[in-house]
Symmetry: C2
Subunit: 687 residues, 2 copies
């Protein structure tokens, strides 16, 4: 567009952004989009060969909100566009925006959901629109051939063309490409696709790989490095589509089940740190290879990788000694976002691929919590959001657009089933759902691997095959809540021994009692110690939340998000009955799945999300529970079930609480009569 | 300085820059210098511990050009300054500019020549002031200790302090430091010195290494990778002082003596390219280790490295296939400056050290020519400068501040003695100076390793020890010129057989004649073929120069610089007698030694010189002699000795030319009677 547009020029409206402008007849739609800042992908640079820039062209005078059927507002389909439509997948009703020119007023839809240009990310629990602006871009150029009169080097002519055609200035180039540029240019007959990485505006763009001719594939991985599981999304950077999602066990488990035992391992075996780092890096490479195999993607086409993880996994992944994280003051070696290289990390993806690791919030609130924050966005909305990720520590974020606070609470591994006598990992045969009849005290349950309740026909045969092996982590909450609702456990967490006269399921062991959940090849008991462990864990979680609520000056939260596997499996009702979480409309309590991984995905697909979470993390108010004297008081107060009564003014409103010892209500929830504080104190003294 | 200065504030003048300004009493001199843009080194950041910021303080009212003896214009020496003077070398009469504050009008000399703050580079042939502004800077900071209330990572707190104390924003950090930062901070008790690299303004500064406590040493290497020799300067980046200069043979010689045979080797053995690259990189690491050992420097303190070399060495050093340089269109893989890492190149200096390679001018005019250009600076002055580096190809640069042109001429290896029957490398026993009596035709000469002429007493004994083994490359010019001046060789380059009757030194071999320079254990002859080889070489050189002079539209040059070993040893007079170089005042013909290496040194010590040579190389007009039809004509015309007569209108003015066949003049130069062009043509037809 060489002359300024005037009022006789066609008016063009881009949807859904609503951006509009006038452009001279003959302007390619792609040029108009770029001028207005509308993001339309293109690899070939307007040569109508990559097929990435498809748009839906609606012709007509949009000022009257009416589409005119004449087709003279857009150029007819020419031979280049036809040729591309034959080779690439150009969807019906679409045009290549680089080939189609503006000839009259136009409304243009930039597709958000197609295979080619999708921006929808589909996940188990998340449908989310991530606007794309990835850090890596593919740019095809045709380079001038060598000229003895102007003896610029091959690379220099390539850079000049990338500046001319794509506007890239001051390009750097990865060292390993110096020795390849000659061969690639000649193999492509001077046509070459460059992958260019630029993260921040202040960072110099860098050529990270080159291919002869048009290269039309670029992928990224978003990875959550959990203590037990590594989860990965494989995403097309060109379409935004998630092409595969998978997980693998974290092989560091052999160095210690939980995080602190891995830190202990490093303390005792300083030379073993390298092995732990190598183990997790290799596992990530293996997982990347697997997701690539599953989806027919070449690992060499993975050009960008984003990682989240708790502070200890974050450090071990980056090769940093996590010892400092095992002792006060829990100093992170690095808290800000880390920019690195796949080659430095030793990841077996494209050699020039970049690595971005989200910032850590604090010594116990890691890049995974940052990822979950980015995903759920307490900072993006006005309502008070509580975001909880339960693991060995609970990472807690509370806030809204005005202010966000975060802390971690030492819940211990009880919620993961680790300190529970019959606790086990989620695996076939593990009990995952429980109901206890408050009259008969008889249980019924479901096990992983079977759709039937234990009192349904056909369960016995299935159970024979699977075995009934234990209680899975997330079901512990439900068991204890049901025991409480059935009156087996008091508000103080004491298993009521007097009930032994009413039911043989109440068994005495020494001075305390247990509840026999299942009597088979394996006897599955819930012991007094188990209940105590859950009480301690939930008191720690609740005390942390309460502390943050005080810091925010609120006595309730508007919405609660449970992140992580624990959150996905527990029933929020029972979490509230037990008093894990504060008073809240149950409709506003939701499991958000691997929110940390979703945050990593957002940071992969859009650089602005990287800046967003970096900014947010800097602004988050970090609360160290160990330094807060009130934390202890909150902890003691939260030992009761569901908690000190005044913490739950609305519990009876939220769920229809029947009188104690009635049968189960329709939604599977019953609640006992409340004892007064005095009654409870008296009982506690007796116990 | 929080308030703006007013006229009651003391006036401070910095010398030699002449920069001046008013500053409130109590302002440290270092702060005033920084505010005015006066470069004063400092590592400790104003803590009076590194001793780098020494200045000479002259007190008094400088407006009257008089120094007042009262000492109340500068603060007295305090305990910190005293302590530093005890530990570091603070020279007499100097003050630490960070500790001494302004208390009255002052004249301050920033020393340019001290051990601590030297900016003088002393080289064999070059005394040169290189203003320092290196790409690597050391910055000492004291980092906040970890704080659970503000859980910023160690690295993040370090970066925050580097921003607060030194103004570094948006710092990147080398990946390998992530795992070290914890240990270094704790070892230094939270005091740490960071090495920060920033080349261009547009590049983000990067922490490339860290040391516990105050680290007060930073070095760089400037290296010229020649085909036969690798030359290296080791320089303190803090003082600018060259602490060692050394050289080593290029081990690639085993793959081929000259460049083209190395290219042929790569063409025939593509798998051998890696070995050639490794050989030269290893040799550079070895040389760096050696210069460090010689000067007591830790190779780990080398933080920056600058390289120059001809295009083929440039490519092999960077691991690039040089095959394209062996054939038209002689395409460089990369011509622009290359930024890399010591770790990528595999250099055994500091792991985080950076590498900068100067740009190449053209396929046959390399980064060495760029270095020589930067050193001699044709582009920095108004006179027409000719810069010649003679090797297998002669690299020729001609120009002034208005325009610079460059070309290479295929001189072949004759000037290096390679195609001369008795030619040899410069080594003890090689003839390096020759005089021939035009009456008797008897020679006298000097050999390398002896101070005596061959007709002086004591020479025979020395020659017995050394042996007289051949003619060294640079002496070939002198021998042929002397033969011409003695009338043995005609303007057409023919050895006059009729003289055989006058002297037994004229020997017939087949149809041509030779001159017997020495008759001993080895007979050293100058054959007709030798003279022809020199004629061809000098004609090629002169034709290239003539071509560039035409491009510049000049018929003479103001000054001539001979770069490289060849230029250092030949006598410019004989170069002019033979017609290697055009007419020029002999006082303006000089040998500039390893100008390429000096250019590398300049680029090492001052980033502005990098930008200067990048800009200059982009602007240089590159002439490809193979494409210029006039080159052939110039070549034919330049075969005569000294050349076509009209090329040297002023030769008789420059040197006092006696009539032919007189004895040698006082300055060792005699010249034959000029023959007319007609005479010469007639003789040529006879030959």
């Amino acid at each position: 567009m060489n002359r300024p547009p005037d009022l006789t020029d066609p008016l063009v409206l881009f949807m859904p952004s609503g951006k509009r402008g006038r452009f001279p007849r003959g302007t390619p739609i792609l040029d108009a989009a770029r001028e207005l800042g509308v993001y339309v992908e293109s690899v070939c640079g307007g040569r109508a060969t990559c097929g990435r820039c498809q748009v839906v062209v609606q012709e007509g005078a949009f000022a009257k909100h009416k589409i005119v059927s004449s087709s003279d507002h857009v150029s007819p389909i020419g031979p280049k566009e036809m040729r591309c439509a034959e080779k690439r997948r150009v969807l019906e009703g679409r045009r290549l925006s680089c080939a189609a020119t503006i000839e009259g007023d136009l409304v243009i839809d930039v597709p958000q959901d197609s295979v080619v240009n999708a921006q929808i990310v589909r996940k188990a629990a998340v449908d989310r629109l991530i606007e794309r602006d990835p850090a890596v871009q593919l740019c095809y150029v045709e380079v001038d051939q060598p000229d003895m009169h102007k003896p610029l080097g091959d690379l220099d002519r390539l850079k000049a063309m990338l500046e001319k055609d794509w506007g890239w200035q001051d390009l750097l180039v990865e060292q390993h490409l110096l020795s390849k540029v000659q061969g690639i240019l000649r193999k492509g007959n001077w046509g070459v696709t460059a992958a260019i990485h630029q993260d921040m505006e202040t960072a110099r763009p860098t050529i990270i790989d080159l291919w002869p001719g048009l290269h039309n594939e670029a992928y990224g991985i978003a990875c959550d490095i959990g203590s037990t599981t590594i989860a990965m999304h494989l995403v097309s950077l060109l379409s935004g589509r998630v092409v595969a999602t998978s997980g693998a066990a974290n092989p560091q488990i052999r160095f210690g089940e939980d995080l602190m035992s891995r830190v202990s391992y490093v303390m005792l075996h300083p030379e073993g740190r390298g092995a732990m780092t190598k183990a997790v890096r290799d596992a990530i490479s293996d997982l990347a290879r697997r997701v690539c195999e599953e989806s027919g993607v070449d690992p060499d086409d993975i050009l960008d990788a984003v990682f989240v993880g708790n502070p200890i996994m974050h450090h071990l992944f980056l090769g940093i000694d996590p010892t400092e994280l095992g002792q006060a003051p829990f100093a992170l070696a690095v808290s800000g976002a880390v920019h690195s290289w796949a080659s430095e990390i030793g990841l077996k993806i494209n050699y020039g691929a970049r690595v971005y690791v989200l910032p850590c919030i604090a010594g116990h609130v890691g890049a995974d919590a940052a990822g979950a924050t980015l995903s759920e966005g307490p900072h993006r909305q006005d309502r008070m959001m509580l975001l909880v990720d339960v693991g060995t520590n609970a990472e807690i974020v509370l806030g809204n657009s005005e202010r966000v606070v975060a802390a971690s609470s030492p819940t211990g591994p009880a919620f993961e089933g680790a300190e529970i006598s019959s606790g086990q990992r989620a695996a076939p045969g593990a009990i995952e759902r429980v109901r206890i009849d408050p009259v008969t005290l008889e249980p019924r349950f479901k096990i992983i691997g079977s759709e039937r309740w234990s009192d349904e026909e056909g369960f016995a045969e299935e159970a024979d095959k699977l075995g009934i092996t234990g209680i899975c982590g997330s079901a512990i909450i439900e068991v204890v809540a049901q025991m409480y609702l059935a009156g087996i456990v008091s508000e103080d967490g004491v298993i009521d021994g007097t009930l032994a006269t009413r039911s043989p399921r109440i068994e005495q062991t020494g001075r305390t009692y247990s509840y026999l959940l299942h009597d088979g090849a394996q006897r599955i008991l819930v012991t007094q110690n188990d209940v105590r462990a859950i009480q301690l864990a939930k008191a720690a979680l609740y005390a942390g939340i309460k502390l943050l609520m005080e810091k925010q000056g609120v006595d309730h939260v508007d919405t609660i998000c449970f992140a992580g596997a624990f959150g996905s499996y527990i029933d929020p009702k029972y979490a509230m009955v037990l008093g894990l979480i504060p008073d809240c409309d149950l409709n506003e309590v939701k499991a958000v799945g691997n929110a940390a991984g979703t945050g990593a995905l957002m940071a992969l697909l859009n650089r602005d999300h990287r800046r967003e979470i970096e900014r947010t993390v800097r602004r988050i108010n970090k609360i160290e529970t160990a330094l807060e004297s009130k934390f202890q008081q909150h902890f003691v107060d939260a030992m009761a079930i569901p908690n000190k009564v005044d913490a739950f003014p609305k519990l009876s409103e939220v769920v229809d609480l029947p009188a104690r010892k009635t049968t189960e209500t329709a939604d599977g929830l019953a609640a006992p009569r409340r004892r007064s504080r005095e009654e409870r104190m008296a009982r506690r003294n007796r116990a």
